[in-house]
């Protein structure tokens, strides 16, 4: 069956339908990762986005539910050049097509994804619509994307706090759309987790007596989370804070830095990130369309800890006064390289150091 992708500039691409059958609108973004389509689709940060996979093949190893980053796909649609006809992976429980059908996630294949990527690279990110019939561009619902992210945020706000028991430090994870892999890395480090909705206040969070607070990744513009800023400002005075992705941007904003929308963002696994202190470079998994404005850091108490080697994007921050830090990339990988997973150890080390200091002060 034919399916169409209509861009806000009026361009229409014709392709073949797969996955779910709903009409879908969203911000068109591309990712250059060559594996991990399932993790990408179920990463909540992609909520409201139509994801172009530059790798020409999708579905080649099927879907294994263990690889989900959330229970359901988060992105609004999937665009690829070709869907594999056959999957032969012992890990796969179903085909990608069937998974997307189950979750009513529309896909379109047979698209010149390279040309589309070049368009986004030169013109910047755009809104687009996936439909089963040709739609004139003016019918593209402008507010739909924002609505999707807003409704996604509303869901995250309504969820009840839940606990993942562990024997180590108590960490409150503020869930803006947290990837399972972040929780997994903390569980690996024996943490006792309390996952709270993104609307939680500082008081509510502190009521769990956390040893540390993790601000998770999530979708959209950090400006859309004004309530998070006072929460962060209060918490960082009380306990250790660590932000990832959106959490990083919110941490920066809470401390007076500015964020901006990037031309087409960083989405992929091959972004080299250099640690300022050591000069060491690691490959990181990235997924962000907004970034912290480096120039705006001057008036703050934040210092850069990591930068992207090629375009010098701010990839990590540390607070000069409080035990608080953040990274723009995904140290939890999934999908992507594991090179920076030690960032979680740094978080734990920060907590340990803080505890020792408190203990010393008490003494």
């Amino acid at each position: 069956m034919k399916r169409y992708l209509t861009l806000e500039d009026g361009t229409v691409y014709e392709g073949q339908a797969f996955g779910g059958s709903s009409t879908s609108a969203g911000e068109l973004v591309f990712t250059t990762g060559m594996t991990g389509y399932q993790e990408t689709m179920t990463d909540d940060s992609y909520a409201g986005q139509l994801v172009i996979f530059t790798n020409p093949l999708l579905g080649n190893y099927g879907v294994s539910l263990a690889d989900n980053e959330d229970l359901e796909p988060a992105c609004a649609g999937v665009i690829c050049r070709q869907l594999a006809r056959v999957t032969d992976s012992w890990r796969a429980s179903e085909s990608l097509d069937s998974f997307m059908q189950r979750h009513n996630l529309p896909g379109i294949s047979g698209i010149d994804t390279r040309e589309l990527t070049q368009k986004l690279r030169t013109k910047g990110s755009m809104r687009a619509l996936i439909t089963d019939e040709v739609l004139p561009a003016e019918k593209l619902p402008a507010e739909l994307i924002q609505d999707q992210i807003a409704s996604f945020a509303a869901v995250k706000n309504q969820q009840r706090p839940y606990r993942i028991p562990g024997s180590g430090f108590t960490i409150v994870v503020v869930d803006f759309g947290a990837k399972q892999s972040i929780l997994r890395e903390l569980i690996k480090r024996d943490c006792n987790l309390v996952v709270v909705p993104s609307s939680s206040t500082a008081e509510q969070i502190l009521s769990f007596a956390p040893d540390g607070v993790l601000l998770s990744n999530g979708p959209g513009d950090p400006q859309n989370y004004p309530d998070a800023l006072p929460m962060i400002q209060k918490i960082q005075e009380k306990t250790v804070i660590f932000g990832i992705c959106l959490g990083h941007q919110l941490f920066a904003r809470a401390n007076g830095a500015q964020t901006f929308k990037m031309k087409f963002g960083h989405r992929g696994f091959n972004h080299p990130v250099q640690e300022v202190a050591t000069g060491e470079t690691r490959f990181t998994s990235q997924n962000h369309g907004y970034a912290v404005d480096a120039a705006s850091l001057d008036q703050t108490l934040l210092t850069k800890t990591y930068v992207e080697l090629n375009d010098q994007t701010v990839e990590g921050l540390r607070h000069k006064k409080f035990p608080a830090a953040s990274v723009q990339f995904h140290p939890d990988a999934s999908p992507g390289p594991h090179d920076s997973v030690a960032v979680f150890d740094d978080f734990i080390a920060m907590i340990t150091a803080q505890q020792e200091e408190k203990y010393a002060q008490k003494k």
Binding site: T35, Y61, T281, L309, N310, G336, P337
Partner: protein, 1063 residues
Amino acid sequence: MPKRNDIHKILVLGSGPIIIGQAAEFDYSGTQACLALREEGYEVVLVNSNPATIMTDHEIADQVYLEPLTADVVTKIIRQEAPDALLPTLGGQVALNLAVALAENGILEEMDVKLLGTGLKSIAQAEDREKFKQLMLDLGEPVPASQTVNTVDQALNFAEETGYPVIVRPAYTMGGTGGGICQSQADLARIVKNGLELSPVNQCLIEQSIAGMREVEFEVMRDAADNALVVCSMENFDPVGIHTGDSIVFAPTQTLSDREYQMLRDCALKLIRALKIEGGCNVQLAMSATSMDYYVIEVNPRVSRSSALASKATGYPIAKMAAKIAVGLNLTEIKNPVTKTTYAEFEPALDYVVAKIPRWPFDKFPQADRQVKTQMKATGEVMALGRNAEEALSKAVQSLEISTHDLYLPKAHALNDELLAKNLIHATDERLFYLAEALRRGWTLDDVAELTKINRYFLDIVLHLIELEKTAQEHPFESQALKEAKYYGLSDETLARLWETEPQKVRAFRTEQKILPAYKMVDTCAAEFAADTPYFYSTYGEHNESRPSAKSSVLVIGSGPIRIGQGVEFDYATVHCVKAIQSAGYEAIVMNSNPETVSTDFSISDKLYFEPLTAEKVLDVIELEQPLGVILQFGGQTAINLADTLAKNGVQILGTDLDSLNRAENRDEFDQVIKQLKLRQPDGKIALNAKEAADGANELGYPVLVRPSYVLGGRAMQIVNNDEELQNYLEQNLAEVGNKPILVDQYLQGRECEVDALCDGQNVLLPGIMEHIERAGIHSGDSMAVYPPQHLSAAVKAEIVEITQKLAVALHCIGIMNIQFIIAAEKVYVLEVNPRASRTVPFLSKITGLEMAQVATRIILGQSLQEQGLKAGLLPEPSKKFVKAPVFSFSKLDDSDSFLGPEMKSTGEVMGSDERYSNALLKAFMGAGFSLPANGSILLTISDSDKPAVTEIAHRFARIGYRLYATAGTAQLLAKANLPTTTVTKVGEKAAASKESKIIDLISSEKVDLVINTMGNDQAQNSDGFLIRQTAIRHNVLLLTSLDTVSALLLALEGQFLTTTPL
């Protein structure tokens, strides 16, 4: 780290002659490395014995030594040049082994030469099986259960414990030489014994078999600051058990989920860090198809064939980066040469699929065992890129230049089910076609997966292509079916077969329907960053990114995969052609399909199209680019074969035109020219069937030389002595010959020589005459040759020059051509003309300093010899002597016959040069691996026709101090001449136990250093001769099959060891 300032002069080691397992990829890596070092301001001294390479050009290194790659020779060069540093990690296994030898002999320490790149300790840790296994255990990385053995018994005991099958891997051999999978005790005993002999340290690793698992490779890089990255991941279509060089390979990995991929990536990076690799490295892993288990197979601590493939597959120049890392630069400070804005610390993202298929030499060795196992047998490979896996695979098949354009092979179609299944289980070079046949017969993916252990995802690529063929067949000349077929890579040739029409008609219909290719750029980053890499591949149904340049351009067709008869020499000529086009002010566009070569380095030309070298693809590029014309003379027979179709489509063929090409290649027309010019040539007949061939042969008188017209490297060419042999020949080769005529020529026993001629239509320049050392009958590519000639009279030389001038002008040669002559009784006969650059172009260019391919290109572009400041005639001959010796890869090809004849069998060549002829010979022999002891012994098994000459040869060996062994007849002859000879029993004399008769034992026990066996032509004796040759090759005993070569060797040895004679 900034680059090192404590070193200025760097010695780079090349990889020597091309053999199976070590091909053009090291010319590519070595060339890149030298250029990178010079770019950083270092002085580069290069040693390589292979004259056919680009790296041995003066433009590539400051000093070039075309000398044997032995420790002794390189030690001398080190003393002479006093380099500050040595870079051995870009010249393959040869250079690594040589570096180890140089470290051991103390010269590096003595001359304070620093070793650049990965250290020797790391190299030993990666290459020594025991040390490597220990490292893996220390790192907690899984390796198959294994044991290093020095005896056959140890191997048998190990296998007893772990169970069969087990894999044998001899230590320090390249391309898996001597290795194999063993299913039984008998197999194991045989293979281990051989492996121990081939290993320079008499060591083999016996390993639990993990055959059937998915085979994954990572090309990784690391710098001294511990930055490490994966350039490219690759997954073999063929599961573990088949050498990766013999496997069909896809990039990026196709069946791995992110979890599996990242787990293996972690492992690869852990290994490269633990080994402290500084530069490029290849990691091979086996991934279970049923669990998260994986095993480390091996690590190559250097650039390799796989890294050349990875470089071309991604656009990331590994060797160049490795050279920069070797002089201290870090990946975080080197700019990515593709984007020029990002850094080399970058993992390429692909937005296309790459398929590689090996090219095997079995067309040359009909007797050889075609099974592909753990020992590599391919001579070269092709790569193709597509926007889907079907397209990539389909284009790769088209690039192979074999008898088919797709997955249909009549031979596979003819098999019954049982044999078909057998061919699926025991993989041969043709398994892909058998797979296709099985799926065509309706066998399910499960059936085929069961037999082959190939992942169903991969098998479905094949199935999909077959379904597309079927759909296309059912809808002839229908736009939608055609569109879909092209989208998945089917060729016009295939559609023509399915539609029972001409490719030309498919093309016309396709053009009319506007179903045209689009070209996409290879940019390392999946379009994330702007790039202006002039590197493209074709696909269908998409937006075209390749914009023809406003400047006038010329298209150069490369020579495709490396195969016997068409080696790296043609790439050399192609690259020089490009240089000349550029310096003449045009843009040079290159098309080629071979990932190993310099010509497919996108920085060499103005634009590179990585495409199959088929008429369809070439016409497509021409239609887009609208070049001034196309140059075919440097791409070997591959390019010449396109001339007809291109010309018919109105393409301007620059240089010698189609009519003139045909006059040289078409026997009838050529005979006319010879007659008109009143030249001599061996009498010949053209036969269209067996009867005509027999009549012709009898008229000419036996022996005659028979061959199909339009052949490459003497394929299917044979000397036959009687009607019976002729009939045998025709039966064996009729399929090959097809409907092309058969040529039957009088066979002249004489001295052979050849010339390359540069001609502008009026004047002819001959850079030199090459005299063959073996007499006519041995293919020129397999002959040793010397320049300047040592045995030609001034009159003969003058006649050769005169004939060449006449022929070149008469054939309207514009550019370059090659002529082969036979000199019999001081008379010069013309043997054949090749209206294109030949194998000897790089050899003579290097010696004479005349860049022949560049001169020819300038002629082709319209500049006469005179305008180039060049005089007609033969260049003055130097006093120095230059010898070319062929190098063979018989030990890699079980059951191939090593007897030399009109069919070319060598894979590479070396040069030896010296003021004295005997020393030049000696160096050539050394370069080719012929190192003989001062006191050795030889075994003579001589055909009756050679017996008259044997006494003198034996005498000369005896005078050096060699012991003689011979079979009865020869021994009697030698006894008569008072030469003490030990008689050995012939193969046939104990019919009951023929394989274990004495002569075989003697060779097997390696009591002789050299076997001379000339029993090839005589059919009756040939089976014995074959067995003797096979035994010598299996046991790594030196072997010669022509007494002319033996005489040359004696000349060299006499100079080396001196002789003793009574007063």
